[in-house]
């Protein structure tokens, strides 16, 4: 017989990404068995995150500071903004340390059938940043899906009106370490279409 409180905990944990009821139960048991080392630390960490982490009003990143640490970094190049769909994309690109400009998180992509329109995304904020700042290049780092590219085209149209000198998008094709034999038709076709002189 599991108490109502414990049942609640299991139910909440099982709703987390990659977890189901069984793993939720295992996590709950683990937390209860390790109250000092894990449970209290987790409660503390969750409390701190809830109290301190917020969405950056400039780029949409998640951080304890507003503007976030990336937006406050003076060593970054203010003339380049990389537009991404989600915070996870921002973290993925920033982890590579190959981009030293600023970011802008849209918070999704345009989707006709799911009712996501331009007003549901952080597009107005991006246009505002382009108007007020000295932005020379916008990198549209959006997913190579129909929705992602539809959003990219929409942004391109909007940004062109602001006379941004360079609007670029990420390359598409063979991934580093990828074997041609294992690639899907679409990726191979795009790779061939965007081949370059060696």
């Amino acid at each position: 017989m599991v108490s109502q409180e414990l049942q609640n905990l299991i139910q909440i944990l099982s709703k987390l990404p990659s977890l189901g009821p069984r793993s939720g139960r295992r996590m709950a048991l683990h937390l209860l068995k390790n109250q000092e080392t894990t449970l209290r630390q987790l409660i503390h960490a969750l409390g701190e995150v809830e109290a301190k982490v917020k969405t950056c009003s400039q780029c949409g990143n998640l951080d304890t500071l507003d503007p976030c640490q990336i937006c406050q970094d003076p060593k970054r190049d203010p003339s380049i903004i990389c537009v991404v769909e989600d915070v996870a994309d921002l973290w993925a690109i920033d982890k590579t340390a190959s981009f030293r400009g600023y970011y802008h998180v849209l918070g999704g992509t345009l989707s006709a059938l799911d009712g996501v329109g331009p007003e549901d995304l952080r597009i107005a904020g991006l246009l505002n940043r382009c108007r007020t700042g000295d932005v020379q290049e916008i990198i549209l780092a959006l997913n190579a899906t129909v929705d992602g590219q539809t959003t990219a085209h929409y942004l391109h149209e909007q940004l062109q009106a602001l006379e941004i000198s360079t609007i670029t998008s990420l390359a598409r094709g063979v991934p580093v370490g990828g074997e041609l034999d294992y690639l899907d038709d679409g990726t191979l076709t795009t790779a061939l279409a965007s081949r370059r002189v060696v």
Binding site: T145, Q149, D185, G186
Partner: protein, 241 residues
Amino acid sequence: MEWSDTGIILHVRPLGEATVVLSLFTAEHGRCSGCFRLSKQNRSWVQLGQTVQATWRARLETQLGQWRLEPNTSHVSLLLDHPGKLAALSSACSLCHLLLAEGHDYPQLFTQFQALTLNLLTDDWAKAYVLFEKSLLTELGYGLDLTQCAVTGVQEGLVAVSPKTGRAVCADVSKPYERKLLPLPLFFLKNSEISLKDLNEGLHLTGYFLERYAFSHLRVGMPPARGRLLSYLDGQKETAA
């Protein structure tokens, strides 16, 4: 029950973390939905307009069912860089997803959709799209009657369509009602060269009947992708001017 068919992905809706509900337009079974489990390997090709070899399985015909899919050769990736073609593909997928009855077969329209996905790679893509909308109207039961003039019965010189009946009208008859009638582009009647004006007229004509009849009983409006296609063509017109 289980069946296999060729299909085109019309809509992808996330269901949990690694599962999606896919709406497919199939050759012999019409529009059908089912769950599909995403993996690292299939994530890249599960998108609108992709042609697949599909197997649908469920205990009962009325259940949501499960898909087992194998990708066929698809050219969607070549359309990603072209805003107009991408909007046309999205719009065609949205219209079929919203308007086609589930479980009802539309073999002719399916063939035309397949042809459209190939025609989107050519320069005549916009014309192919408008003619697809015309076929869609026919399949939905709101087809245009362009065989003869609704008033005089003549088969030549048809220039407009009645917004009430969807029947063609010849030039002589249409003159007093020019403002009320919808212009009929020549490429609706025979294979001819087309201009941006013709395309806009064609889209306006099909759009009028889609909105007035096909969408009248739905709670949603015309797909925004169609609006983007119209504004893309408007932009082309301005550039040409």
